[in-house]
């Protein structure tokens, strides 16, 4: 074929045009492109929501329901946004008296806990070795039968006192139901997990004769002197404190000065106007040093000390014997120089701080280490609280008061049968209330220690709202103590450490699925009663723990059953709230005025007692006068300084929950890169100290204490005192699931219990440690 130019061009053009037209006109191309776009946008199978119809996420009517958060003792009001029956968001509730619209990151993550795979799907019975995580589903009837059978058995053998219950709180109807159950059943062993409330309640009992814990008018104060309290880290009711902080930072008359005493640059220290780093464990000495200056320079409140305190001046009893008063003690023992030698803070700073504190209008000295998850030293607490008394800021606006609850209807006295009566009066497993620790209510860190010594023991343990297996100090001792308990029942909604090591799990409803009352949150100075309401229907085969405990009681029969006259938990709750129920159900909360009045104290002297007379009344023998007074009684950290040259202190991260609730994925996601990397937990150390041990940023190291060893990563920071290592609490879970389990180490596994000599509570603030490069 002969091809000339013309033909060629014709063919070429024709071909191109034909092909072009063909491609353009064939619907196949457009269809393919369209499909590719849609497929890559919507149809990708992984994006489709299993279980939910239609496109993701499903739409529907939006509603908002109010309830109260139960993830920490803070008790914030929350509003849950729902789309049809799905809860899609938790927000702070506007106008709620605790948190007025604010929320913390844990509270905002609540739905991950509600819908999370770590929920206990229904009653579980252990099927493998304990701690193997092997459980089998049983029915509620079988589960309750098991418990009833076991408890009947123990009671029949006269061992009712070998039953114990561990809860996160002793206030509110659910803890009260447990407490009532134990009393009717015949066990004295109601144990509340550790917190600074343990010591503060004791200190207030001793110094003010109050039964309650402490409440601070943080919003009203204008000088906040915090002795290591993690005000910003999540102390007390966290949102409330952060909101108070914002008030302190506002430009108007609410401006307050904040001084933080802490060996580490925590967020509280960073947000404070002044940060004074003292040697860990010497905070009490500093408080007394400040008292020295205040007394010496007569900066204290003369009216209050004269009219409403006892033991400020030296005094003599009816025999004429002279006793030392607080004034003499601080003047002789705690001069700025001697306190400087103890704390490492210069005398000049001590004097300046004391003056600033005493001269402020409404100063508050705040106590409770970190987030307040450890009990702490009694004398240290008293020393700090004495400062509040010195400036006369007790039971006043802008001051410190007791934390009252909204008055509710008391329940009828429990009528015990003979067994119950006998067993109930047996000594407690933790030694609280014994002749050695007559004034202490609970010794949550002590029971694993004494059990370990084979000193009696728990034969059946009920755990609700707490995760003692994880949160109790000295993890090895706790594990061993659990091994010795033949029957452990957990009521947890989540597969937490305790549930993981239980024999039976009788899961409670999640807090968004149940009714419950929320008494005044920790640290609040005004009575607030909040109400948890079911926002969503139960997602799993769970039951309200209140109903379960009443069913158990009723099954036990006799006087035990008689103690629970209510039909179900909600009836009990309604009756308890009484006439306020209508308002409570309508509003979601009720408030009261603080009943505490200035100058009224329940002590033997009727005054604020610097010199504690309650010790003698309780039959405790003190060797020296100063032991009746707030004084510096150093708590020595465990370990040989030669073998363990460094000091390890547990620290708390505000984005890491370290209590009974495991950190949800959202919160874990917010952790900084130098806090958690992969599964490695960082410990904080000063670069100077790190250099001594050849450690660089991000280095792998072995952290060893007399209690244990762990692999950690090293974070060099100028925010910590040389010679001190900080280890965050809250990681090292083995339970929950891959989003939390296996990450980091549990600080409690490295730290032991040092008992406070007077209270028996755990006064540990740190432990000696060694850090070696791997």
């Amino acid at each position: 074929m002969k091809l000339d130019r013309r033909t060629f061009i014709e063919i070429l053009v024709g071909f191109s045009a034909g092909a072009g037209a063909g491609i353009m006109l064939t619907p196949v191309n457009w269809k393919i492109m369209d499909d590719m776009a849609i497929w890559s946008q919507e149809m990708w199978p992984r994006y489709q929501l299993g279980g939910l119809k239609g496109k993701l996420p499903e739409r529907g009517k939006v509603t908002h329901e109010d309830t109260v958060c139960k993830l920490c003792p803070g008790g914030c009001g929350i509003t849950v946004r729902k789309v049809k029956d799905r809860a899609t968001k938790i927000e702070g509730r506007d106008g709620y008296p605790v948190n007025n619209g604010g929320i913390c990151l844990l509270g905002a993550s609540g739905l991950q806990l509600l819908y999370g795979p770590w929920r206990v799907p229904g009653p579980l019975k252990r099927s493998g070795k304990r701690g193997s995580g092997a459980f089998g589903r049983i029915s509620w009837e079988e589960a309750i039968d098991e418990v009833v059978h076991k408890l009947t058995d123990l009671r029949d053998k006269g061992e009712a006192h070998a039953v114990a219950a561990i809860l996160d709180s002793d206030r509110g109807t659910v803890p009260q139901l447990f407490s009532r159950f134990l009393k009717a059943y015949g066990s004295p062993n109601f144990i509340r997990t550790a917190s600074d409330q343990d010591t503060y309640e004791l200190a207030l009992n001793l110094m003010q004769g109050a039964e309650d814990s402490v409440g601070y008018d943080l919003e009203g104060a204008n000088f906040i002197l915090s002795f290591g309290s993690g005000l910003i880290e999540g102390w007390g009711s966290p949102v409330r404190v952060i909101q108070a902080h914002s008030k302190w930072r506002s430009g108007n008359g609410d401006r307050a000065r904040v001084v933080q005493i802490e060996p580490r640059l925590s967020n509280t220290a960073a947000k404070a106007d002044n940060w004074h780093a003292v040697r860990p464990g010497t905070e009490g000495a500093l408080a007394l040093g400040l008292a020295h200056v205040i007394v010496k320079e007569s900066l204290y409140d003369p009216m209050f000390t004269a009219n409403h305190t006892f033991g400020f001046e030296d005094w003599n009893d009816f025999t004429g014997k002279i006793y030392m008063g607080f004034k003499s003690l601080v003047l002789t023992e705690y001069s700025p120089q001697s306190v400087s030698d103890i704390t490492g803070l210069s005398p000049r700073k001590i004097v300046a701080l004391a003056r600033a504190f005493a001269e402020a209008d409404r100063p508050i000295a705040v106590w409770g280490r970190g987030k307040g998850t450890t009990s702490g030293s009694l004398y240290e607490c008293m020393a700090v609280h004495a400062l509040n008394a010195l400036v006369g800021n007790i039971n006043k606006p802008g001051g410190v008061s007791t934390r009252p609850d909204v008055a509710t209807q008391p329940w009828a006295e429990v009528v015990q049968d003979a067994t119950a009566c006998t067993c109930f009066n047996m000594p407690r497993v933790d030694g609280a209330g014994s002749s050695r620790y007559p004034l202490t209510k609970y010794l949550p860190d002590r029971w694993p220690q004494v059990m370990d010594g084979g000193n009696g023991g728990i034969k059946a343990l009920l755990v609700n709202g707490a995760d003692p297996y994880f949160t109790t100090m000295d993890s090895a001792a706790v594990a061993k103590a659990f091994e010795h308990i033949p029957f452990v029942v957990s009521f947890s909604s989540y597969l937490d450490e305790t549930a993981y090591h239980a024999d039976l799990i009788l899961p409670n409803h999640h807090y968004l699925e149940r009714w419950e009352d929320m008494p005044t949150p920790v640290g609040l100075h005004k009575p607030v009663l909040g109400l948890l309401k079911p926002v969503v229907s139960p997602q799993f085969d769970t039951r309200h723990v209140g109903d379960v405990i009443m069913t158990i009681a009723k099954s036990l029969g006799g006087k035990v059953a008689d103690s629970f006259p209510w039909e179900d938990y909600k009836t009990a709750l309604k009756e308890t709230v009484g006439e306020k129920w209508g308002a409570l159900e309508e509003e979601g909360f009720v408030e009261d005025a603080n009943p505490a009045s200035e100058g009224s104290f329940g002590t033997p002297s009727g005054k604020f007692e610097f010199y504690v007379t309650a010790f003698d009344q309780a039959g405790m023998t003190m060797r020296k006068d100063e032991e009746y007074l707030p004084h510096y009684a150093p708590i020595k950290p465990e370990g040989n300084p030669v073998l363990y040259p460094l000091l390890l202190v547990p620290t708390e991260l505000m984005r890491l929950a370290d209590g009974a609730v495991g950190n949800p994925p959202f919160c874990t996601k917010t952790l900084e890169e130098n806090e958690l990397k992969g599964d490695g937990l960082f410990v904080e150390i000063n670069p100077m100290t790190a250099a001594d041990y050849g450690l660089s940023e991000g280095a792998h190291a072995t952290l060893a204490t007399p209690k244990g060893k762990a692999k950690v990563l090293v974070n060099l920071t100028e925010g910590i005192m040389p010679g001190v290592i900080g280890i965050p609490k809250g990681l090292g879970h083995k339970a929950y699931d891959d989003y939390l389990a296996g990450k980091g180490v549990n600080a409690n596994s490295l730290i032991g219990v040092v008992e406070d000599p007077v209270s028996g509570l755990c006064a540990t603030w740190g432990i000696r440690a060694k850090l070696t490069r791997v």
Binding site: M1, K2, R5, F8, A37, W39, S40
Partner: protein
């Protein structure tokens, strides 16, 4: 020669040339499929498991792939620039290498598009760049020009295919090839136009990032200075890459394929352009330092994080810039084959390094004072999927060499 000892496929060879036995050829192609398969696996991993299989991250949205992309396109500039010199400047001697430059260009541009196909997160939506085009984006300009230019390259490549001894026997294809040859100056002109734009726009890609003081440049109208520098550096190194690949092909085949005077023309032009480039680049660098300093980003902060120390600047402009320039400018050094090849290697490395610096280092330098420097080293997936196109390119070149009349001087240089 005994016909039995001739390769099985010898009827397809270009007229008057000798090729190895088919089995050796197939073995060679098969050998190239080894690493190619690894690269293919890497690409499939990227598509199947998403880009988490790479070492890229939010600090390094651009990594080896983008640097390589910009690199191969610069290296592929040999095609349009040789075409420009041959058909428009009419340096006739270059007809002896222009075919091969086209083949190399096809490979480079195919590689660039292939790498992008792996690099983007949603390859199935890649065409959105045309569909939803944003005319303000340098990348849009690049995409349009590259696609159009790739078509031009294919049209330039087509006559070579048609001139295969057997295909050419068909009158239609023979004629078509002939007419395409006639149209080549026009096609080359289109190619030059498109290339100038996309080479420049690639320079614009980092140059317009005013949020990244390291990459940002002022410029002329909408074009930052990098626009012009990229064009210049591409045409300064493209010919060297053509020389380099030709030389490697010669080494592999054991034959001389192109006369040295052709190399010399390209090398000389390359050297001069490189000299111009280096002068302008030096001015740009000085101006850049002043600009950054004025805006508050001290020059030293750009080189504060290892491995990106000052050595980077010294290596890029000195060892990989001035040295090849001197070799290429000196007639004596240029005519020394070893030195010439060294210069080509340095020049091509220099362009790659420059593209890496303008993309990856530009992202490595923290901007906010509280940003942390994060190191980035590409992982095997990135390397393998990038190299995939090197192996594929080698296959295309091998087949093209074996069957297509690419080297007009081959017969003369290798008499039977």
């Amino acid at each position: 020669m005994d016909s039995a000892s001739l390769p099985f496929d010898q009827a397809l060879f270009p007229e008057g040339t000798k090729r190895c036995k088919l089995k050796w050829f197939l073995l060679w192609i098969a050998a190239l499929h080894g690493p190619l398969t690894v690269g293919a696996i890497a690409a499939v991993l990227c598509w199947g498991l998403a880009l988490n299989v790479t070492n890229l991250n939010n600090n390094y949205p651009f990594g080896l792939w983008i640097a390589a992309d910009l690199g191969v396109i610069a290296l592929g500039a040999g095609a349009f620039f040789t075409g420009f010199l041959r058909y428009i400047v009419k340096i006739d001697e270059l007809k002896n290498i222009v075919n091969f430059a086209v083949v190399i260009g096809v490979v480079c541009y195919a590689a660039a598009q292939g790498i992008l196909g792996v690099d983007i997160g949603q390859p199935l939506r890649g065409w959105f760049i045309f569909w939803h085009a944003n005319v303000h984006s340098m990348l849009t300009e690049v995409a349009f020009c590259i696609t159009a230019y790739f078509m031009v390259l294919l049209i330039e490549y087509l006559p070579l295919v048609l001139e295969n001894r057997q295909i050419n026997k068909l009158g239609f294809f023979h004629g078509m090839a002939h007419h395409l040859h006639e149209a080549m100056p026009a096609i080359a002109a289109i190619g030059v136009f498109l290339s100038f734009f996309h080479q420049g726009s690639l320079g614009g890609v980092p140059g317009v990032l005013y949020g990244r003081p390291f990459a940002f440049r002022e410029g002329f109208l909408v074009w930052p200075w990098t626009f012009f520098l990229f064009i210049l550096s591409a045409i300064a190194c493209g010919p060297c890459f053509t020389i380099l690949i030709t030389w490697i092909t010669e080494k592999c085949t054991g034959k001389k394929l192109v006369k040295r005077n052709v190399f010399d023309i390209l090398a000389r032009i390359s050297g001069r352009l490189l000299a111009v480039y280096l002068v302008l680049k030096t001015i740009d660098t000085i101006y850049w330092i002043a600009l950054a300093d004025k805006a508050g980003a001290p020059f030293s902060s750009f080189y504060a994080n290892q491995p990106y120390g000052y050595w980077v600047l010294v290596l890029e402009l000195g060892a990989l810039g001035v040295i090849p320039m001197l070799i290429l400018l000196g007639e004596k050094t240029r005519k020394n084959e070893n030195l010439l090849i060294l210069a080509c290697v340095l020049n091509c490395s220099g362009i790659f390094m420059n593209r890496w610096i303008m993309t990856v280092q530009a992202l490595a330098v923290p901007v906010m004072s509280f940003d942390k420097f994060v190191p980035y080293i590409p992982n095997w997936v990135e390397f393998a999927s990038t190299l995939l196109f090197v192996w594929a390119g080698a296959i295309v070149i091998s087949i093209s060499y074996r069957y297509l009349p690419i080297f007009p001087q081959e017969k003369e240089l290798n008499p039977q």
